[in-house]
Symmetry: D2
Subunit: 352 residues, 4 copies
């Protein structure tokens, strides 16, 4: 790639949601990036810091309506939109020479038919599905470096893949009967006004949702299959937590007879991730808490094997808005433009 500019000119499409806000929070502190355009049809003309007062004094931008020419003039464009937006603008944007990091679901699946089945409408840019690079740096760092279009993983899939990855790569566990019992804070549902997401409805309570089928399932299947090199059988049940940020994945699998002992697995896990700046393998038997990563681009995982039986458990936590969305997107940007991969992402999690 060509030399990175001193300050990347960054555009954001769909900046009113939580993912957009989190991109801004990271980017205002990024040494090599400057946000020059942020779009929202509904909020055109509104100062970004009026909507997100935590940014008062950090950012003077106003929302504008999306415009391909203006966006194409950016060095990089992020999509922080619901599904079905990015795929409509993408061909024109790429044609105009932009590099794009899409945080939505539009380019995560390689198979347009599966996409259509889960999203209930045709995919309008199927020809780009193969070009899109799946933006999980821990798997695809090299491909990300040269990509025009990076499709950032979903939040649940990120936590699940980083947890299962060493187990499936090593072949220690069966590829069927995987159970990903996961939970997310409500910010994963976005900033839409919906009754079930009211504090009066969602606080002080816990529930599963989509237990019979959730849109992240095909992405989980595809990505775990890629890791395993074969189709996997996986059950995924998401739950809604009465809190704002954080995803916790409890990942069950069946140990093969010839798998190594827990100590050896732990050592291998640590080795697999030792060069990764944003994956932390905690000591075996640890219980990572979602607050250990609040606001930080970090995944912390730990391994359990109850009573040395045939069930192996990985616990994996991320902040859904950080490593599960905006933080990972910026990590991808850093890779794409040759910056230090940790630039702008060094801050420790907020605790307590």
């Amino acid at each position: 790639m060509s030399q990175a500019p001193d300050k990347l000119r960054v555009g954001i499409v769909g900046g009113t949601g939580y993912t957009g806000a989190e991109l801004l929070r990271f980017l205002v502190g990024h040494p090599h990036a400057e946000v020059v355009a942020i779009t929202s049809r509904s909020e055109e003309g509104v100062a970004v810091s009026d909507m997100y007062p935590n940014l008062r004094g950090h950012l003077e931008l106003h929302f504008t309506t999306p415009d391909v020419d203006r966006l194409a003039a950016c060095d990089v464009v992020f999509f922080a939109t619901p599904h079905n937006v990015a795929m409509r603008m993408m061909p024109a944007l790429l044609a105009a020479g932009a590099r794009v990091i899409d945080l939505s679901a539009d380019f995560r699946l390689r198979d347009a038919d599966i996409w259509s089945q889960w999203y209930g409408e045709p995919h309008v840019a199927p020809e780009l599905l193969r070009e899109a690079v799946y933006g999980l740096p821990e798997m695809n760092r090299d491909a990300i470096r040269d990509a025009r279009l990076v499709a950032c993983p979903g939040c649940y899939p990120t936590a699940i893949q980083l947890g299962y990855l060493p187990l499936l790569e090593s072949g220690w566990v069966e590829t069927s009967g995987l159970i990903a019992s996961c939970a997310s804070g409500v910010s994963g549902a976005g900033r839409q006004a919906k009754v079930p997401m009211l504090l009066a409805e969602a606080s002080g309570s816990f529930k599963a949702y989509g237990a019979s089928g959730h849109r992240h399932l095909p992405e989980i299947r595809q990505s775990l299959g890629d890791i395993a090199g074969t189709d996997v059988g996986v059950t995924f049940v998401p739950h809604l937590l009465p809190m704002v940020r954080g995803i916790h994945a409890t990942l069950y699998s069946t140990v093969k007879a010839d798998a190594p002992a827990l100590d050896a697995m732990q050592a291998a896990l640590e080795k697999r991730y030792e060069a990764e700046p944003f994956v932390d393998v905690m000591p075996a038997g640890s219980h990572p808490e979602t607050r250990f990563v609040k606001g930080a681009n970090m995944c912390r995982i730990a391994l359990h094997r109850p009573e040395d039986g045939d069930t192996l458990i990985v616990l994996s936590v991320i902040d859904n808005l950080a490593k599960g969305a905006a933080g990972q997107a910026i990590q991808n940007m850093n890779i794409m433009f040759g910056f230090s991969e940790t630039a702008g992402l060094e801050a420790a999690a907020l605790l307590p």
Copy 2:
């Protein structure tokens, strides 16, 4: 049994914890019971309503030190103590003629060795383990009726058993590979001052705990084995929710090839529980929320079979302090003394 008195005279040992407080909340509204003694060594002389001001105007009792004679004069004695207390007083109390409902872990397991292994000390009343009736009315109603000593199930085991019970009774699912991924509000940890249970530590976060082994596991194994009529293979992972009340169990199992279709299972489930006043089978595909049972002696469950595959999921919710502890204890009392089983337990859950 002999005729129940007009008003049962009730004693409570260990009334300072949340379970004790919940017993009081139910009992002050019970038509056939009056609390006449409540003990606490540390709080002797303190008015109960000074510790639990929600009871101001409802109860004039003060804590006293535990005294076998005074307790034996009660018609029924509840133990709302940590483990290791009830078993020490039990022989004397029973000898004095009391009927006892123990909410602690002391008499839940039939095997004293297993008890010792998980609680790290010898059981001091092993001769009573066989006599103790396991107080899950949905399984043991008849035995409870005549029991001297009822051992109330733990909170997690209650949610798990009521969920798995129809599946295992019917033989639809494999008895190995059961996975109970559960979560509880912090009141399950009691009222002890512990740093990890501070609001500043536990709110806004989620974590697993005891993932390599938890004290409720042997009880779960024993009770599911009783239901299945054979040993079961079960993995149990509890998680801590950033909220006060509620247990949610997500119960995974593998459907046998000859199991009926989901509709038939749903119908059978509804039939199994149709006469049960405190188990509510929601429509298939529902997602019970813990707030649906907050403060109420109720278990709500729902069935899922994702993509008609071989994984069957039951979602089961209770209030850990109600159907998971004090409510179930009073349900047992009602059965033991011939009252309407719902007496004092009719109130709807508090929502929102």
Copy 3:
């Protein structure tokens, strides 16, 4: 009044909001009432227990569209609607012989002009404003008994009046310079889908709102003026709490030079409320917590006089949905129909 029927036939207009749900929760346990009609234009045909699953097994009703004839056939009709609904239906309903308990703001103010000024539209039934009895039993019990139309106080005004009442009645404090610094849980804002009430927005945070003027102010002014027998000067600032239920009022006033000492004030306060079943004067220096009244029709108050100076403080807590709305409405119903005032309202608060 004529003899109360064995079971009152109760109608509820606007049953989909939290106030309606709370009415139902209380009424399903009321010994002398049966809900026979509940209306909602938007949810016609929906089972009430589908919207509020805590009522599954307690209530078999479905929402219907509002119909004056059907409602007029009820013994009593509650309005749990936003403002501007009750005043439109009221003339016809009263003409048809119904007795009405209005939980909305439509009939709380005696002055139609002031109402119009704060609600931004004309009052359409001003002739009923004088007839309407302000439903604070601790002030107006006798008038409530015979009322056709009871206007239940707002939630903030209830907490504020019960706190200031003994001080103003006794003439201990100046009637100017009153400051009511209050806070409410989010259920006070209702069940509408609004972004600021999302868990992701409102949890973990605290803010004032309406600090320059809030719609409850004229009601507070009118009612405190009624108590004091003169115009009062009062500043009211509400705040939003990151929780569901509860109102806390911190009520500042300036002690007159000839006021009695704190002890005497405390004694007088206790005497003022000793016959009131739903006002609890805690010991001087206490700090009532909103959880002490969660789910209960109860107000708890406490008196403070820092450093024996000239500032007197009353702390007053209620559950905004109970004593601040539905509970108080049922208390009014009990009075209107000659039941025990505590019927259906005896349950202790849910704690923890």
Copy 4:
């Protein structure tokens, strides 16, 4: 002062509490500081990141027992201890040449007798009370620059002073009858295991505490008196919020007859703080929320004058651990050592 070193060597006494953890969180990202010593008697030998896993990968330190020589070798020493610790070590530390920033209450009051009265024991280093510089940069920046010993303001006093400061400096309001009705998240109570701070006790509820007198009152009186140039009459009531971080102050005062109109006050307020990097005057009529400053060294304030009456209200929010403690301490450090005042403190608040 002499030239600042390239990297300040920083020592922290009492690093196990939340204030210590927040100092570390800021300092690991500070360009000119390195933590070289952190002490805790109880946790000696424990890795800091074992206690605060958010710091895993950011810090390799272990807790050591406090040692004057070792601390004196640091360029600056922070005390993040309960009261009564700093004053015992201070004389020796200062004698050894250290510069000290004390976050505890030991040196905030100038009058040892008042200190003794509120803390119930004699002050052991009264000779240092006059030397100690009160570390509110917005008032004392010049004195801080050259101080040996800086006493950081308490969290409530910071929010209160920054709100009242422009009003009292300008003489717009009476200096008597000030009412500071404030609320704090539970992290202000520290990390001690106390029952009232358990999630099961403190969540979903709200209460006042110390309404008859709180230890922050004398500091508030002293500092507001310093600003006003005369004794002030102030009532301070703190409340406990069911959340972790944040202080909100609702500051009532009586406008003098000759005070300017609201617009002019707003303009003057903005001018007073326009050069301050960490005070943000929001538009008049705004309602600052505590989440607007979560994790950030920032105070946001807004002005209200209801109905143009004689009550003026300032709303003021800070993060109690940031601008209310650790952030302000580092701001002081930056001033003392000639760094940019914003070094290490630039990050935007975490929202949502």
